[in-house]
């Protein structure tokens, strides 16, 4: 103890301390990031899945993402994006991308479930990343109220409080979430596709994600208690409706009321 206190004024003491601090934070970060990623349970992928996936990848994806998914000018490297990213992007039809632009649009999926599974197997084999979520996280039996709170704090600023979608800068946008499957919602949170940030497991726990999906599915199933929801877009659609439909009908009546005379 005495030796340590004597050396605390040594010229190299500050450097040693800094080094220790850096090592500690770096080490902790490495541990934390690997812990936070839902590890791909590669067990569900067979070797033939991976092989078939590689063939599909080389035929359909390598033009932009490069051979071995190492990335080119036109598309990023896919090492470490995980099976969840592939399942989301290919499963919702966003990949293969229709054209370059601010954001890939959702469109009919180009591959069937088996092919998507094989592609996911191949990309997952390139490096560890978020896995396709387990069924029990997608059962829509979580706490909707808690999910609602998480949604309003984390998601509503882009996706709108009623999940009707919203605009981002320069042609980017947050899509509406009705009709999106629970699995794809989970994968989007875990991988942060397009312009969406990643909500990893320390940000929003798997249970939290399950609650958010429960909330979204519940408000979707509830429908609109007050009648047609006019797109759930808030006061703009309400204003348009009252000016066009409300006032329009009333003007029709005023014309009718005054038409018999003069």
């Amino acid at each position: 103890m005495k030796a340590l206190s004597q050396k605390r004024r040594h010229p190299l003491a500050a450097i040693a301390l800094l080094l220790m601090g850096l090592l500690l934070t770096g080490g902790l970060y490495a541990v934390a990031t690997t812990v936070n990623e839902a590890k791909a349970s590669t067990a569900e992928f067979t070797a033939s899945d991976t092989q078939e996936g590689q063939k599909l990848f080389e035929a359909n994806c390598a033009t932009c993402h490069g051979m071995g998914a190492s990335g080119t000018q036109d598309g990023p490297s896919l090492a470490g994006v995980g099976a969840a990213a592939v399942d989301f992007q290919v499963g919702t039809g966003r990949m293969p991308m229709q054209m370059n632009g601010p954001q890939a649009y959702k469109k009919p999926a180009q591959f069937n479930d088996t092919q998507t599974h094989q592609l996911a197997a191949y990309v997952a084999s390139l490096g560890a990343g978020p896995a396709i979520p387990a069924e029990e996280l997608l059962d829509e039996k979580g706490n909707a109220a808690e999910g609602g709170e998480l949604f309003r704090v984390n998601c509503a600023m882009c996706h709108n409080a009623a999940a009707a979608g919203g605009a981002l800068t320069r042609g980017k946008f947050a899509p509406a979430l009705a009709d999106v499957s629970g699995k794809h919602i989970y994968e989007a949170m875990a991988t942060g596709p397009q312009n969406m940030p990643v909500f990893n497991d320390s940000n929003v726990s798997p249970e939290g994600k399950r609650n958010i999906i429960t909330f979204l599915k519940q408000i979707e199933a509830n429908g609109s208690p007050g009648g047609a929801d006019l797109g759930a877009l808030g006061p703009v659609s309400e204003g348009l409706f009252v000016w066009i439909a409300g006032l329009g009908v009333i003007i029709a009546f005023t014309i009718w009321l005054t038409s018999r005379t003069s």
């Binding site: 509503a156 009648g227 006032l247």
Partner: protein, 556 residues
Amino acid sequence: MSAAPTAEAPAYVANTKVGRFTDFVDERVGGSGILREFGRKVFPDHWSFMFGEVALYSFVILLLSGTFLTFFFDPSMAETHYAGSYTPLKNVEMSVAYSSSLDISFDVRGGLFMRQVHHWAALLFVASVAVHMLRVFFTGAFRKPREMNWVVGGVLLILAMAAGFTGYSLPDDLLSGNGLRIIDGVIKSIPVIGTYISFFLFGGEFPGTVIISRLYTLHILLVPALILLMIVVHLFMVVVHKHTQYPGPGRNDRNVVGYPLGPVYAAKAGGFFFIVFGVIALMAGFFTINPIWNYGPYDPSPVSAGTQPDWYIGFVDGALRLMPGVVSGFHFEYIIFGHVLTLNVLLPALVPAGIIFTVLFTYPWIERWITKDNREHHVLDRPRNAPTRTAIGVAGFTWYSVMWAAAGSDLIATHFHVALNDVTYWLRALFFVGPFIAFAVTKRVALALQRKDREIALHGRETGRIVRLPHGEFIEVHAPLDEYKRYKLVGFESLAPLPAQPNEHGVVTRKENRRAKLSRWFFEDRVAPATPAELEAGHGHHEAVEAGEGQKTLSH
């Protein structure tokens, strides 16, 4: 006169019990006199005269549905945990105000319907006030003797917006809280006194615990009382001035041609109340408005995408959205003696609204000064026959609409698949050039319509029948107009520029010169109505005979 009271024989004795009863009441209240006076008031019939009625009826519906809502609404900001029947919010911490609004929506019988009636009626109320004002402006109904009633109408518009905004904030959901936060920001941007006003209003730091109950008092007591007072003043002046009428044969500034209030017009107006009520009830029954359960309780941290105010506050929100923070290195935020002056909030929030309402309130006097017209006007202008006024109105409306559209810039971007930034840039450009384009286009269109009217008045309607004359000439046969139709086309007053007039000392003041310049700008482009002489000369010819009259007259 003898001292003893003599029983005077009554002039009239009713034969039936009901008759005797009504006679008894009438002799003490004088109802028949009132009915005779009001029942014979004449109202001209035109659909565009009915927007004021729509506004009045919407207001009555607002009072009825609002009273129902007060039975169940609790404006307290005390914290509670939701225990009602909407499961996605079960046990969520929220204010009593929001919780009671949710209870009205889900646990009070007919509550959601009444809430939607109230909100739709509010939107329709302000919309019909606005359309009514546009009608009054574009037909020149604000001219003498109605200038003061125009001002009362403007005050009513502001009060309607105030009523709407105070109501919008009451449910204490995320949307209304976001709106209040913007108001708080605008108040705080006012130099020196802004922070004080904010602290007094919110009873401390935003959001505080008192704002909802204060807004509630304003919403159900002060603002509706003022609206009611203004409506009484407004209607009283309508009775005093009598109603305006569109030009037509037999109509002039000394008469009103139309139908008496009783019985037909009163029945129509009464029926129209139920039509308006019915339309609002249908909207409330079939279309959601302000689904507060979607937005969740207010919490200063989250802001939902697509957060906008109701339509009538939209133009202020749009102006805020259009304001850039920095323009090529020029900042709008200064720190003066440690106080922040945030012009990029202060300017867009207060200046456009200030300009719009200043021009709106002073316009009757501006036009009166330019025209030096001190006559009473009870016959309206067709908008095309006052091209410069119409163009000014459309320019103003365009300016408003640009800001209005900007409030929905995010939805324009997502629904038309364009970039939000581009929407903002275009609207910024339109904010400056839009009114000028609108002015020029409207004025030209109005003049062109006048020219068309003149052409039709002079030569009649084209029949499309081509006739070859014996000597080989082809002519198209024009059918002459009947007297009534022609009156509409020629029976209007076309003002000419009024040159500068010397005052009583024989001096033309600088102000008078400015007025003369404005008068020239106002009236130099004009198409004079066809005169009787021209009409006489025009018959049988189909070449344009467009005689110049006085100043510069346009010809084609």
